[in-house]
Amino acid sequence: MLNVSGLACSRGERRLFADVGFSLSPGEWLHVQGENGSGKTSLMRLLVGLSPADAGSILWRDEPTPSAEFRRDLIYLGHHAAVKEDLTPLENLRLAAALDGIALDERAALAALIRLGLRGREELPVRVLSAGQKRRVLLARLLTRPAILWVLDEAFNALDVAAVKLLGDLIAEHLANRGMAVLTSHQPLPVPGGKTLTL
């Protein structure tokens, strides 16, 4: 489904990586490892189509990306909180879905927030939540937005032990449903199996 070959990226004059290639089939996940500054985030941004690659190709369902179909099948969670501080978790989730053109009723949104351990926080402005809780609001989108490919950049940062286990479970469930995931982290991840790519 996802075929990446010969990818190269440089920042200014510095070559970050070259000739990166991998492929993923349904049910598989890739762990991108590397030191700080090795280009993990840059690779994620190339992969999802936020920035152009110097060379190489990224094929999704044998079509070059970014295509409309790719964006429909993709969910990308980056370093940013990507939630609005002045809105409540519930509003954040429902408006994000509406922007993506997805109907999300209140019950489903609430269920996702409860699964992420935000019961009782759904009507508070995100501003008053802790960093870890903000992160959980963002992660709730994994439940409300149907997508095949999850690209999660340092998603395990700022999470407590329980949340790390929860996210691990969510990814495992997603893979069991023939989903795919690309994760970056410099620590071992609580998800079994998986390919590894070291930058």
């Binding site: 936020l50 152009p52 964006r71 429909r72 909180a81 509003e91 408006l95 509406a98 922007l99 053109g101």
Partner: protein, 221 residues
Amino acid sequence: MNPFLATVRRDVLLAMRRKSEVLTAVFFFVIVTSLFPLGIGPEPVLLKKIAPGILWVAALLATLLGLPRLFAADHGDGTLEQMVLSPSPLGLLVAGKILAHWLLCGLPLVLLAPVLGLQFDLDASALGVLTLALLLGTPLLSLIGAIGAALTLGVRGGGVLLALLVLPLYIPALIFGAGAVEAHIAGLDVGGHLSLLAAMLVLAAFFAPWATTAGLRIALE
């Protein structure tokens, strides 16, 4: 809900949670128009003559005041990235943001202008023309301004640069907008001015979201 309307709703909702940002532009508009008589002197004939120009220049500057924030907040917290990667066309979301900007920043100016026009002794029909011209012109300012806001997103000294890029492009709107009121006061027909403003608005509505989208993609690279 349609993604376009969802974006409008989201931005209006956000602005309502933080009313000070909307009110700043409105107060700015009021203060700037009130400063001119103090600087020029209270002579009614002169004030009436320069009123259209003053109100229009003040509207231009008030619109400019809110522009740097148009995309900066979404850029800062990462929601802009999510919009770019959204299955909805980015042009549609950008158009929604521009409409929201006009609703929050342009429309209050349109509604306030007749009241401020009274300070300059404009009669009722002139106030009507002024309001109509602003109603056609302020969306144009939001559309053109959005291009500048996208191009200067995350750039050093973005606010000042934005003014330098956008103000020259505002000149036709200023000429025809203020010109409509002046022509009316001089007893001339204003149909031509208003039609040209409307034509420019249509042109900008077609091209500006496209150029803004391209600018945003470049800014995120």
